[in-house]
Symmetry: C2
Subunit: 472 residues, 2 copies
């Protein structure tokens, strides 16, 4: 018998590869942070002697969910501006608040809050794009999450950096500082074609090749940005990125709402990824991405929550359900984006996009043990004829019971825990209360017996002419 760290004995395992497979009464053997066996429980108990055995009698275990696009620190701005057109939402709320608030501590505290929410929702990896990425990486790592940190670039000065070169310099320095951390990796993260100049994008194309990094960028989120690009450059944004050498298998085209058929085909031909963020696209009235067309062209699909200021939850299960429903409703085809394809997008699709498909995204021997157990025993998931259907259509984040990242259990019976097993929530929520007070003051007189209608003055006194340095 081989001695291993952990044996998970599961009612069901959905390994994601092969697509749609459901293994009943299977065990996952974990040693040194990696998966060393996926086999029937009875056989596992003969072959392995585990230091810890976890019995999951009414649970389905899947690969950890991969949130391919978020601005984690913006969890501190959850719900500051709803039901507003994009231009007002940015100009009156997000940019002024960020100009007043964004600093290393804001990013650290907000990212810790976000990480806790993401882990409790079954996300083991997130691809983040925000200022002060070193603070974000530190926060994600401390909470136990796998971090894909954006080396941000934008042409506007902020408290973090002065110009695009400065952003890249600082981001690359963060990469150098953290490059030995096995749970941290990086993307190059130019904000968007409309906020980053050709010279910067061209430099990023070179850096991506040299450093072997994905390129994480907002693309074709709104119809307006496409019109503006045609006026300014004579090209649609994706064509401009292509001319600059950025439409490759490294590209994460975030949002990708407004794409013509030929543009979908181009993404497919180059092996690029569309990162679908359905809640955010609907909430900001950006539109509905053509997910059925992505499937038809075999574009790699990943899912993202976007930031909590435009969602307002960092809940990839919600995005999974919404992606599945919306693909059907928008295409008129009830078989579009079936449950198996949605789960793949939320796991292996994201891992592929981030260059991590050899390490995570499916439950296979040799991969790192990023795993989520969903308890299907509650009223809301009974009866159960098909755990894969329930995962996508019936589960909520409250069904997530336990989460492992690199073999370490980071959520135990719904509670995020530290290395000693102690709950994390108290220490993480304490500074959130202080931020709430500060942001609440900025938002003006809330809670006076009527719906919060923050006064514009305290926040709009900061400079919002240029939308200085927003990253969403």
């Amino acid at each position: 018998m081989r001695t291993i760290d952990t044996l998970l004995c599961c009612r069901w395992v959905i390994p994601v590869r092969p697509r749609g497979q459901i293994l009943k009464e299977h065990a996952i053997a974990i040693d040194g942070g990696r998966i060393v066996g996926v086999l029937p429980v009875a056989q596992a108990q003969r072959e392995f002697s585990a230091r810890e055995t976890v019995t999951l009698p009414q649970h389905v275990v899947t690969p950890g969910l991969v949130n391919a696009h978020t601005h984690a620190a913006m969890s501190l701005l959850r719900g500051v501006g709803d039901d507003m057109p994009l231009s007002r939402w940015l100009g009156e709320r997000i940019w002024p608040l960020e100009a007043a608030l964004a600093c290393e501590q804001f990013v650290y505290d907000g990212t810790r809050l976000a990480a806790l929410e993401m882990l409790r929702g079954g996300q083991t990896t997130c691809s983040d794009m925000y200022f002060f990425p070193e603070a974000a990486a530190r926060a994600l790592r401390e909470v136990g999450m796998r971090a894909v940190v954006g080396i941000v670039a934008i042409e506007f000065p902020t408290a973090y950096a002065t110009d695009a070169d400065d952003y890249l310099r600082k981001g690359l320095a963060t990469r150098d500082a953290l490059r030995d951390d096995p749970l941290v990796s990086f993307t190059l993260a130019p904000h968007a074609p409309y906020t980053v100049a050709d010279a910067t994008l061209a430099r990023i194309a070179v850096l991506a090749e040299e450093l072997d990094l994905p390129v994480h960028i907002h693309v074709h989120e709104t119809a307006q940005e496409i019109e503006d690009s045609v006026r300014q450059y004579g090209l649609r944004p994706l064509a401009r990125l292509d001319r600059l050498g950025l439409v490759t298998e490294r590209l994460l085209a975030v949002h990708a709402v407004h794409l013509e058929e030929a543009e979908v085909a181009l993404l497919a031909a180059r092996g690029a990824t569309a990162v679908h963020c359905p809640s955010s696209n609907l909430k900001l009235a950006s539109g509905i991405a053509r997910v059925a067309a992505f499937s038809a062209h075999r574009v790699n699909l990943a899912l993202g929550t976007d930031g909590a200021a435009s969602n307002n939850r960092l809940d990839l299960l919600e995005e999974m359900r919404l992606a599945a429903l919306l693909a059907k409703g928008a295409s008129g085809d009830a078989s579009a984006l079936p449950a198996s394809a949605v789960l793949e997008a939320a796991t292996l699709g994201g891992a592929r996009a981030l260059g991590l498909a050899q390490r995570i995204g499916s439950i296979e021997v040799g991969k790192e043990a990023d795993l989520v157990a969903f308890d299907l025993g509650a009223v809301e998931t009974q009866p159960c004829f098909d755990p894969l259907s329930h995962l996508v259509y019936a589960c909520g984040r409250e069904q997530v019971s336990d989460v492992w990242v690199g073999g370490r259990r980071v959520v135990r019976t719904r509670q995020a825990i530290d290395l000693s097993g102690a709950p994390l929530a108290g220490a993480i929520l304490a500074p959130v209360a202080a931020w709430q007070n500060r942001i609440g003051q900025l938002l003006g007189a809330c809670d006076h017996g009527h719906r919060a209608q923050p006064a514009a003055a305290p926040v709009s006194s900061t400079d919002s002419r240029s939308g200085a340095g927003h990253l969403r």
Copy 2:
């Protein structure tokens, strides 16, 4: 000091009327099942002596949610057919299964399961449409939920009734039997224009007036049924209902996905209700209802989950969020269906539709105490600048902590309880396991190490030519 049954001391109260109002540190005084005061906590503690005081220090309390359209018993068929076009879903799964299964016990057991899920999701009232409505009413009442029971009519024979007259006779007898129950009321529930003949619909129009009952009917769910109606009757279904005298303030037009501008205006002019079921409409690829147009025309809006076979959750919070997001994304207007309007649709809008607006749907003195407390203290709802925003955009059903129906606490800290305070779940889940086995056998060989692909034979051997007696 006045002695009362219960005093709820709440961080926030959202009474729904007036729309958008948020009361901070307010109490709700309850006596004899009714609301007798809504006032600042300090004042309430001077004015009332309560036999029970419930402190809700980080909670927002709203009126109980009203699920205006469901087929509760179908919770036993949760997830039996996903990712299938409507015709296959009905013909291969739902109709054959219903033909094989639907009986009084199926309805009773399935409705109890549904009621538990709905209560735990903050729903205090549901408007049900299914066979054996007496069994459904009994189940809903035993679990403590307010029941609006459909007096069903359809032209096809089932185990429940032989023809439309028999359905109506049996439904009216159920109404006679239960008419003194203060928690039960009724609708006339002809299934749909395409399954009910003119003569029956005309009789229902008369009955609705005579008995003062709402009329609960699927209308314009798919483009196909409209085409078929034009071919068969030379009229679109809504025009046919109008010719038969059914488009009045009593009408619940369920789904109402495919409406022309003039049809929206007709609903508005007559004071009819559109019952929006966004998850079901997307999942079955029926389309996207024009909710922004409903708002522009001031059509009364209510929300429904539909049955768990086409959703697959009976979660009105999910429908609220989806309705708000979808209205924005589909109309291109991020201010469409703001949070306050969504909450109104999920409470007072449903109450109006069901003829219950004098009794429930808002937190006002004199109304019955149907209330839900949402705990906003968790990571997922922090920070909180606006509890109304969080309700719609950030909350999940797991934030529902306590529920009262007619002043009786039916959910206590997430657990549905009986009159003695004992948990209900065990007794309700036990028969579900038996049904799972029986339905699983019908569905064929599941769980053989691959995605469930039920054999068609065992279920399709029953007669599905006529779609006999399905109610969804």
